[in-house]
Amino acid sequence: MRYTIQIVGVGGQGVLLASMVLGSAAMKAGYKVAMSEVHGMAQRGGSVLCTLRFGEEAVSPLEYSGGADLLMGFEPVETCRNISLANRDTRILMNLDPVYPSMVAAGFEEYPDVDEMVSAVRGRTENLVTIDATSIAVEAGKAVAANAVMIGAVAAAKGFPLSKDLLKEMLAENVPPKFTDLNMKAFDMGYDYMSKQRN
């Protein structure tokens, strides 16, 4: 068994935390783990990509283009930008909440229509699930828990090899104690959302 998760988003969205939670869970499950992270200059509001691979023989920190088993897109433009990390069989989880690049915010560039981006991805794969993780997180108590919603949703993805309980346990270990309840609730809501999708 070998499983690759590609996590894409924007600095500050909790991409690194999500990768730590998933990676720790894979380690706890007895797999070898190889991950690759983005640090440094790119973190200043730039695009962020984390590669997480685990399995009996995982050692390479990078994956083929198109080699992902799961693509977690924390932001719609970043999901589209990185769509070639996926192949036709890759499960894709796409958060619909945009983070505007500075040139878009200032009115110098256009942010593409989110529905159009979703159709572009749908036109390439039948394995897309969209999610409004930020709204779900707000419902759970706070927008910052959107990454917990995403992790919860992944736990319910078809064929995902790590157990829900293990992911929850690792999430609890990786967030500050005062936010444990919020994150647990957000995780469950993400899990329930995904369970109801055809995926």
Binding site: V10, S19, M20, G23, S24, M27, K32, V33, A34, M35, S36, E37, V38, H39, G40, M41, A42, Q43, R44, G45, G46, S47, E57, A58, V59, S60, P61, L62, E63, Y64, S65, G66, G67, V77, E78, C80, R81, I83, S84, A86, N87, R88, T90, Y100, P101, S102, M103, V104, A105, A106, G107, F108, E109, E110, P112, E116, M117, A120, V121, R124
Partner: protein, 604 residues
């Protein structure tokens, strides 16, 4: 952060965390650095734990000083490490070349963190070549786990040869994460004693000649150690042989089948007999290494000397590239030479135009203010903006376009002096506070000495921001049981005796612009210190006071001066109206300061 001081067990560690743990298990008791990606997290970790680990650690003023302090510790018998990003070793190359002649007594590791693909660097140099230039032993780990264990082995070899050892990592090792089993921390003393030996440690020509011969001898001895090193091992069976090192080994191991692999961890000097024996009888050899054909050219030489006529594939045959880091996609170029599964078929790219997302100056970043002020003060004058290495490098982006020339740390001020003499354009050099201390002072003195008519703007945000907010001489030190006062940059500059000197608050863009005009009009060396703490650093210290900002739409005349001059990401255009994103805004007031109609209000 992982618990690097943990008594045992295992953890999922970043390569740089694994290396930090390796230092503890190897009994390294002296560490120094100048921060640089991708090596920075080692220093951030040591800032927190060195005291508890019984280790001395410092952020030195630059890599050369860091190197020299570690060299003294190692010469006194204390196991030491100096670490830096690849270009940092250029700064430290001078002491390295001659310390190789003296050698050391306790182990000394020179960790260079190379950055193939230039994720956060200005060039892609391959520092393995330094090991040949300096005749020093070198090791290269492939994974975080191997990096941790290799630290102790590197110390052992360094002490056996009494030579400093180059420990060469790359971004995909420093910033990879993997499972690391913790071993026992080593007992060691943090104090040694320097036993004088003039002929060894004083490289005047008469002694240096002897030391040069000694170094060549040690290089031969190092070759023998490389021959028997467990870090150079053979795996698998096959008619085709692959020779590889560093992170490339992980791609070979996972993707290529039915080959025999010679994995090299001790990569200078190379185990020449082992390599010749490995090649003998093979039908073909493939060299898989990033950047320069460092192994490949030596393998070709070894083949020639051993009369082995086996075809060698790699960069010289055009099968693999010299540029950029390797990845499974790059390894797939070998599919006609070896057996590997067919690569997956990626979804085709989305054709829609997607907005770029380059790294950008943060909301409320004081650099925005001084760039806006400079632009206004310069007006239509023909200026050359020299910049330097730090967050303010991002001033290259619109609307500022405040970087016309960047080469290296401290390079902007020296270049400004050249532009002042060789052109009629007005040179302005931006340099950060940490970079000023690193290498900005000598070129300023040189400018004064030679009467270069330039403006130096020290963008003092009270921290070494880009690499993760390390302290520097301008902030003083307060960790590891040592507390020092902050050095006053203005006093340092005044001591040099420049022709114009002022300190401005970049958040008051209008006032800063007036001062910048005076500086630009100065017939001599002018220095402006733009002083305001980095909001991210203040946030970290829980000292950031956030003020609410809003745009009074009834007074706004839609001139967009705020967007065009400050371009803060917290300013959002909705339709034709400018709004403030309350999540990002810190209430610095720069946009309000430049608004011609006082339509932006900052509530105290």
């Amino acid at each position: 952060m992982a618990d690097i001081l943990s008594n045992g067990g295992r953890d999922l560690l970043l390569g740089n965390e694994a290396i930090t743990r390796g230092l503890i298990e190897a009994g390294v008791r002296f560490a120094s650095t100048y921060p640089g990606t991708p090596s920075s997290e080692i220093g951030n970790n040591l800032e927190k734990i060195s005291q508890e680990a019984g280790m001395y650690f410092e952020f030195s003023v630059n890599e050369k000083v860091a190197f020299e302090t570690a060299a003294a510790a190692a010469s006194s018998g204390v196991r030491s490490i100096v670490f830096m990003k690849h270009v940092g070793l250029n700064v430290a190359a001078d002491p390295m070349m001659t310390l190789a002649y003296s050698g050391v007594r306790g182990a000394m590791l020179i960790l260079t963190a190379d950055d193939p693909s230039l994720h956060s660097s200005q060039n892609e140099q391959d520092n393995r070549i330094y090991s040949k230039l300096a005749l020093l032993p070198m090791m290269e780990p492939s994974t975080p786990a191997e990096a941790k264990d290799m630290v102790a082995e590197a110390c052992r070899i360094s002490e056996e040869l009494e030579l400093p050892l180059i420990f060469r990592t790359t971004t995909r090792v420093n910033h990879a994460r993997g499972i690391v089993e913790f071993g026992e921390p080593a007992e060691a003393s943090a104090k040694g004693h320097f036993e004088k030996d003039t002929a060894r440690f004083v490289n005047i020509p008469a002694f240096a000649k002897r030391n040069r011969l000694k170094l060549l001898d040690l290089n031969r001895k190092a070759t023998e150690l490389s021959e028997i090193s467990p870090l150079n091992f053979i795996e698998g069976e096959g008619d085709t042989g692959i020779i590889t090192s560093g992170v490339s080994y992980t791609y070979v191991k996972e993707l290529i089948k039915d080959v025999q692999v010679l994995k090299l961890g001790f990569t200078n000097p190379l185990p020449e007999r082992k390599i010749a024996d490995f090649i003998r009888g093979k039908s073909r050899i493939i060299i898989v290494e990033e950047l320069e054909p460092f192994l490949e050219d030596q393998v070709l030489r070894i083949c020639a000397q051993n009369e082995l006529s086996v075809p060698v594939f790699g960069k010289r045959t055009g099968h693999l590239p010299m540029e950029w880091e390797y990845s499974p996609d790059v390894i797939a170029r070998l599919k006609d030479l070896v057996r590997m599964d067919a690569p997956p078929v990626p979804l085709r790219p989305v054709e829609m135009k997607l907005p770029g997302r380059p790294p950008t100056l943060c909301a409320g970043c004081p650099h925005r203010g001084i760039f806006a002020a400079t632009k206004k003060a310069m007006g239509k004058r023909d200026a050359v903006y020299c910049s330097d290495i730090g967050c303010y490098t991002l001033g290259v982006q619109p609307p500022f376009a405040m970087a016309d020339f960047i080469i290296c740390m401290g390079g902007g001020v020296g270049a400004a002096g050249g532009f002042a003499q060789a052109t009629d354009q007005k040179p302005v050099a931006f340099i950060g506070d940490s970079t000023f201390f690193h290498s900005g002072i000598p070129p300023l003195i040189s400018a004064k000495f030679n009467d270069h008519k330039l403006v130096m703007v020290i963008v003092d945000n009270r921290t070494t921001a880009m690499t993760g907010h390390q302290p520097n001489p301008g902030t003083g030190r307060d960790f590891g049981g040592i507390t020092t006062e902050a050095l006053d940059i203005e006093a340092v500059v005044r001591g040099i005796g420049v022709d114009f000197l002022a300190t401005v608050n970049p958040y008051d863009v209008k006032a800063a612009s007036k001062v910048m005009k005076e500086a630009i009009d100065t017939d001599g060396v002018a220095v402006v210190i733009s002083k305001m703490a980095c909001p991210l650093e203040l946030k970290k210290q829980r000292a950031l006071v956030i003020r609410e900002t809003h745009v009074d739409q009834s007074r706004c005349i839609k001139c967009y001066t705020c967007l065009k001059t400050i371009a803060c990401p917290a300013l959002v255009k909705k339709g034709d109206e400018v709004h403030v994103d309350a999540v990002q805004c810190i209430g610095c007031g720069m946009c309000a300061n430049v608004c011609p109609k006082d339509a932006i209000e900052v509530r105290q």
